[in-house]
């Protein structure tokens, strides 16, 4: 009699244990609202997830993952609420352009400064990178200096617009990291830029 009760208790515990021991992977929309794709592989097989709101479940690595099946957004929200609450915002990046061989901003980019300041305030960001670049016209050395001067111009403008200097980092890449790859000594306005990354 006691034995039957013990066995029953054991089975209940086992079942409860199985229910909580479930592993689950859910495909989600990206920060841009698009949908990516991924593959889940165990030692016994793999499944592809390519639709948002679908999930694969895995018992352990010696079994195949289940085929993708929809999961309600309520369940997904409930399971991941704590992680979602502290999930960081995707950093925002702004590109400012310069006149040819100059550290003077184009008029349009001049106006972007206010937008950047607003983004910093909205996110309460203390982590802003100001990254200078040039095109490939002129020597490496000249372009390194020019990219630094360009980054400094933007740094000073942001500082004048009340962004704390201690929250900003200046980085400069010269002509080494073009947005649009070109041959050496080619003028390319899209590469004469400073990127401001607000994180």
């Amino acid at each position: 009699m006691t034995r039957t009760i013990l066995l029953a208790l054991f089975l209940v515990t086992m079942l409860a244990g199985c229910a909580t021991k479930e592993n689950l992977i859910v495909l989600d929309k990206t920060a841009d609202g698009t949908v990516g794709a991924l593959q889940v592989s165990t030692d016994k097989g793999s499944q592809v997830l390519a639709e948002s709101g679908t999930a694969v479940r895995i018992e352990n690595r010696d079994t195949s993952p289940s085929p993708p099946a929809p999961i309600t957004s309520e369940e997904s929200q409930r399971l991941f609420a704590d992680a979602l609450q502290v999930h960081p915002l995707m950093p925002e990046s702004f590109l400012l352009y310069f006149k040819l061989n100059s550290n003077e901003l184009t008029d349009e980019s001049q106006r972007l400064i206010a937008t950047i300041v607003a983004a910093v305030q909205r996110r309460q960001s203390k982590d802003i990178s100001v990254i200078g670049h040039t095109d490939r016209l002129g020597s490496d050395e000249h372009n390194r200096r020019l990219s630094m001067e360009r980054a400094k111009v933007v740094y000073n403008l942001l500082s004048a617009a009340s962004i704390a200097e201690s929250d900003m980092t200046i980085i400069y890449h010269g002509e080494g990291n073009p947005l649009v790859p070109t041959a050496d000594n080619v003028a390319e306005p899209r590469n004469r830029r400073v990127e401001v990354m607000v994180r």
Binding site: N23, D32, T42, N60, R61
Partner: protein
């Protein structure tokens, strides 16, 4: 006379080795952006509590308590957050576009995770290795976001 010199050079090299290794590993790979409750970082065998804006380093293991949650921004803009009683090991991370060095290996050991791929996913998707005790997650598209609950 030659031998002691060689020997002392060897000793010197061995003595300096840990420092060189530490300095190579001492570049941060990300930052704590969101935090709630108790979260610990295990680094070089020691545990320390995590605070907002703390830097994350390669080989860190991050653990959340029963009321803890943490959101991390990696240097390539990968976002990873975890809920309570979760554990992740930041085994490997390199994001150096200037020298074309890309690597990432994260072990999501247990708990709940929300993941949004960053620039590594765009520039070097095959360099991204996401391991769990029950299997591997590989990105098939440049920009992918998922949630994972690992019970094992």
């Amino acid at each position: 006379m030659k031998k002691p010199l060689l020997a002392s050079l060897l000793v010197l090299t061995l003595a300096l080795l840990p420092f060189t290794m530490t300095s190579a590993a001492s570049k941060s790979i990300g930052k704590v952006k969101g935090l709630r409750g108790l979260v610990s970082i295990q680094r070089n065998g020691k545990m320390k509590p995590a605070f907002p804006n703390d830097l994350i380093y390669q080989s860190d293991v991050i653990l959340t308590g029963s009321d803890g949650a943490i959101g991390i921004l990696l240097d390539d803009n990968t976002l990873i957050s975890m809920g309570p009683i979760s554990r992740v090991a930041m085994d490997k991370f390199a994001f150096e576009p200037a020298t074309n060095e890309y690597a990432m290996r994260l072990k999501m050991q247990h708990g709940t995770f929300v993941y949004q791929s960053g620039l590594l996913g765009k520039l070097a998707p095959h360099a991204v290795e996401l391991e769990t005790p029950v299997g591997r997650i590989s990105m098939l598209k440049e920009d992918t976001s998922f949630r994972a609950k690992i019970a094992e």
